[in-house]
């Protein structure tokens, strides 16, 4: 361990509250050329604000104060439209690299963030305190060299499990020399639980190199933050010996109040996200052709606006799949409708597609998995037919 580690103390001098910790990005390596980014939007994105069923005659009445006017929308297929902020995704749509999915839900009915995220991240059909994450299970199913690397601010549930996984974040808190790290490695070698993790951190430091230290030193706004994290993700995934799977997450989508309309807070947040996603293919370079990005959230939100100009926890929601491996751009929605009698429990979008069915299709398309392998990533899901028709 003799590489030159040029670090520097930064952020000690960052003033104010503007920068909360960078959202997390974590990587894990599996063999093959495929690259997968699982982008989790924690908090429950309002699917009806992201992917608008403009054709639904019940839309305006059901949404009440949050119904969006046509001019705020970017039409996709004459039925559904991208909500305000998401315009940049139209580039991907026009290149046949976008699936826009609606009325999607986890297989478990709960309006708890905690339960719903647990189900989405473990890939099971009920919340389980102990279960590992489905991305980690994916590494096991793929077999081979499951070397862990990371761009991170923590380890998400989706990546926990027996396969060794790393984390990385652009945060550097001090300059450390090779001899010091060698001695620490010696100490960590005796710690059963932490040994692998410290080794992974050393590997990751090497993979990031000096330039890694400068990543993320961007602006402090939301859009800059999203861009920095997605850029770092691309940097690792694009390397030929880089990781194959990345888990990324952004929180702050729990819009109980004043979520706003065409240029409101939610639209601005979606705008930052969409721009980072639209710039991602170029950052990936040649490797983009092997890459799929899945954007998901734990649940949709109530159809009607609540008493505070926001929406409460709901059920069916929207998701997006980006990448050249999608068969063609399309809206994937067995649309249940928003008329009074059609809502789930009288308030939410009725789910018609299981998150696991979508993910199985994505995995098969990205990593050339068989249906049998995809089933193993999601235990007890044999009865859930994968959507293998969506990807090439």
């Amino acid at each position: 361990m003799t590489m030159d580690r040029r670090g520097f103390v930064r952020g000690m001098c960052l003033g104010g509250l503007a920068t909360f910790a960078l959202p997390a990005v974590r990587f894990a390596q599996v063999p093959g050329d495929g690259r997968l980014v699982f982008l989790l939007l924690r908090g429950g994105v309002d699917g009806l604000a992201a992917l608008v069923p403009a054709h639904d005659p019940a839309y305006a009445r059901a949404r009440r104060g949050l119904a969006l006017p046509d001019e705020a929308l970017t039409d996709l297929d004459g039925r559904f439209a991208l909500g305000p902020g998401l315009e940049p995704l139209a580039q991907l749509w026009n290149r046949d690299e976008l699936l826009a999915v609606h009325a999607l839900a986890i297989p478990y009915r709960s309006r708890s963030h905690f339960d719903s995220q647990a189900v989405l991240e473990t890939g099971l059909d009920v919340p389980s305190g102990a279960a590992d994450g489905w991305l980690n299970r994916l590494l096991g199913v793929m077999g081979g060299e499951a070397r862990g690397v990371a761009v991170a601010a923590g380890m998400p549930r989706s990546l926990t499990g027996p396969a060794s996984v790393s984390t990385w974040s652009p945060t550097r808190l001090g300059s450390v020399g090779g001899a010091y790290l060698d001695r620490l490695a010696l100490l960590y070698r005796r710690d059963r639980e932490l040994h692998d993790r410290f080794e992974a951190a050393l590997q990751m430091k090497e993979l990031a190199g000096d330039e890694g230290d400068a990543m993320g030193s961007r602006g402090t706004g939301l859009a800059a933050r999203y861009a920095a994290v997605m850029d770092a993700t691309a940097r690792f995934l694009a390397q030929s010996d880089g990781p194959n799977v990345a888990a990324v997450e952004f929180s702050g989508w729990d819009t109980h109040a004043a979520q706003g309309g065409a240029d409101g807070p939610l639209a601005r947040r979606l705008g930052g996200l969409a721009q980072a996603l639209a710039d991602f293919p170029e950052r990936m370079g040649d490797r983009w052709r092997d890459t799929t990005v899945v954007v998901m959230t734990e649940f949709g939100r109530t159809v009607a606006v609540n008493g505070s100009g926001g929406t409460d926890h709901g059920t069916g929601g929207a998701a997006f799949v980006l990448g050249p491996r999608v068969r063609r751009s399309m809206v994937v929605a067995d649309w249940p409708g928003l008329a009074d009698g059609e809502l789930f429990e009288g308030r939410d979008v009725r789910p018609t597609l299981d998150t696991r069915a979508l993910l199985k299709g994505v995995l098969a398309g990205t990593f050339d998995l068989t249906a049998g392998q995809a089933d193993r990533v999601f235990p007890e899901s044999g009865g859930v037919q994968g959507r293998y028709d969506l990807m090439i």
């Binding site: 670090g7 103390v9 952020g11 000690m12 001098c13 960052l14 104010g16 509250l17 920068t19 909360f20 910790a21 924690r42 104060g65 309006r111 708890s112 963030h113 905690f114 919340p127 990371a150 991170a152 601010a153 923590g154 380890m155 790393s166 984390t167 990385w168 974040s169 945060t171 550097r172 808190l173 001090g174 300059s175 450390v176 010091y180 790290l181 001695r183 620490l184 100490l187 960590y188 005796r190 710690d191 639980e193 932490l194 993790r197 410290f198 992974a200 951190a201 050393l202 990751m204 430091k205 929180s251 702050g252 109980h256 109040a257 606006v305 609540n306 008493g307 505070s308 926001g310 409460d312």
Partner: protein, 485 residues
């Protein structure tokens, strides 16, 4: 595990497991470790060191911010927002100073635990920031050695919580205000069920506590009217007029909450406004409730006394202080004290100390970033937190009073011991060791703050004088042993 090298193992365990980290040499001064912990529970409620912001100042700054917002003065609002965040930074800094210097570290751990259990987050919305320190000082600290339900009720009434989980703007669909607005302006005002759901799921019964969507909505109805009038879009006179016009028979527009009460028209803080309260019967679990603030209080007390609450809270305490996967009998031991004493948190804390698991050398818990940083500062005898401490915690993803979600910050190695975080601690340890006062540069003294097994290579490294003293100090603070307690 090999024989421990430190003869003061139980004292070290008391200082680290239940406290905020041993100081060099402190273990040999403790006497009876258990007694040292129990004595801490005897004193009055724990307070913050230093000069905390005045409550009036908090409201003045919030008022200035709201006024700039209403005037649509973007720049002015930004400046007012900065002045609000200043108060947050001062409070966060004083909290860290308190943790670094306290002689009752067990009680400060309890403050942190309960504050996180009933968390608010300054990341949510601008107005929470200046209220965050006030919240912990007013709603949490007075009750950490008192009764659980008093703490929960104090949090329900606190503006920080009412704002954070949106209850201040949850309006009864059949309240006088809603009916009037519907009639005059054809607009709907209604419930916001955010707080009611989290009160059930996160603060009292727990996720498996046996409630349903109907209970969430009924509890939300009960809690309508628990608000912060100065943050509502109506002036007080308008609210009172609504009370008269919408329902003349329903009495006065508001009942003052406890706390400030000098009747000033512009008075900030909590109040129960009956014009916003949903009339009629409400059913939450087995309870039936009527109208008004007292009925809401009764419902919350019932939730706090529900057997599921004891189980939920006991499990969480056990995971925090005993083991990431605590034994069922330990959880039950805590739950039964909770139930038998009506939620006496001092008695529950005392029971925790008596559980043998806490003292078992084979159990260990991973320090959260906040607790690791505080332990570092205590170990090297700092008498206050350095200026950069709050910023460092942000980078370690453990900003003071700013969890991502109402669940609060998690516990455990699974959440905090990822590779990058270990590297960040290694970097920070080196950097802090580089700034340690020269007097503190005796790294070998720091071996006394750790539980080490006989074959650990750390003592040899720490005594190796071919390595610089600051680097040896960093090896203690950044090495694996210091990450656990």
């Amino acid at each position: 595990m090999e024989a421990p090298v430190n003869p003061q193992t139980r004292a070290v365990r008391a200082l680290n497991r239940f406290g905020l980290g041993a100081r060099a040499g402190e273990a040999s001064t403790l006497g009876d470790p258990k007694g040292w912990l129990l004595d801490q529970l005897e004193d009055p409620p724990p307070s913050v060191v230093g000069d905390v912001p005045d409550e009036d100042e908090v409201w003045v700054r919030i008022g200035a911010f709201r006024e700039r917002q209403r005037a649509r003065d973007r720049e002015g609002a930004q400046e007012a927002g900065r002045r609000m965040r200043e108060l947050y930074r001062r409070e966060a800094r004083l909290l860290l100073d308190t943790r670094v210097t306290t002689e009752r570290p067990f009680v400060e751990r309890l403050v942190a635990f309960w504050s996180n259990h009933l968390c608010i987050s300054v990341g949510a919305t601008a107005v929470v920031a200046p209220l965050a320190g006030l919240y912990e000082r007013q709603a949490v600290r007075p009750h950490v050695l008192g009764r659980f339900e008093e703490m929960v009720l104090a949090s329900v009434r606190h503006p920080a919580m009412l704002v954070y989980l949106d209850n201040f703007r949850s309006i009864g669909p059949d309240s006088a205000a809603a009916r009037l607005v519907r009639q005059n302006r054809n607009r709907e005002l209604g419930l916001n069920e955010n707080y009611a759901r989290e009160l059930l799921e996160l603060h009292t019964l727990g996720l498996d506590g046996g409630y349903g969507q109907g209970d969430v909505e009924e509890l939300a109805r009960l809690l309508t009217g628990w608000t912060v009038p100065s943050l509502l879009p109506w002036r007080r006179a308008q609210l009172e007029r609504m009370g008269r016009d919408g329902s003349g028979a329903r009495g006065p527009g508001s009942q003052r909450g406890p706390g400030r009460g000098d009747g000033d028209e512009s008075e900030p803080g909590f109040a129960f406004l009956s014009v916003l309260h949903d009339p009629g019967e409400k059913a939450v679990l087995a309870g039936r409730y009527g109208e008004g603030q007292a009925e809401g209080e009764r419902a919350i007390r019932d939730l706090c006394r529900h057997p599921a609450t004891a189980d939920f809270v006991a499990g969480k305490l056990a995971r925090h202080f005993l083991s990431e996967e605590p034994a069922a009998r330990d959880v039950e031991a805590l739950a039964s004290v909770f139930r038998a004493t009506g939620g006496d948190l001092s008695a529950v804390a005392a029971r925790l100390v008596e559980l043998e698991t806490a003292w078992d050398p084979d159990t260990r818990l991973f320090r959260t970033p906040q607790d690791w940083l505080v332990a570092v500062l205590r170990a090297v005898h700092h008498d206050e937190a350095p200026d950069r401490a709050t910023g460092v915690l942000r980078q370690l993803r453990h900003t003071v009073w700013a969890p991502d979600a109402p669940r609060g910050y998690p516990d455990g190695a699974r959440s905090w011991a990822d590779p990058d975080s270990l590297m960040n601690r290694a970097e920070l340890a080196r950097s802090l060791a580089g700034q340690a006062p020269r007097d503190d540069l005796r790294p070998e003294r720091l071996l006394s703050v750790l539980e080490l097994s006989g074959d650990d290579p750390l003592p040899a490294l720490v005594h190796d004088e071919t390595i610089g003293a600051r680097e040896r100090l960093a090896l203690v603070l950044g090495g694996p042993a210091f990450q656990w307690r």
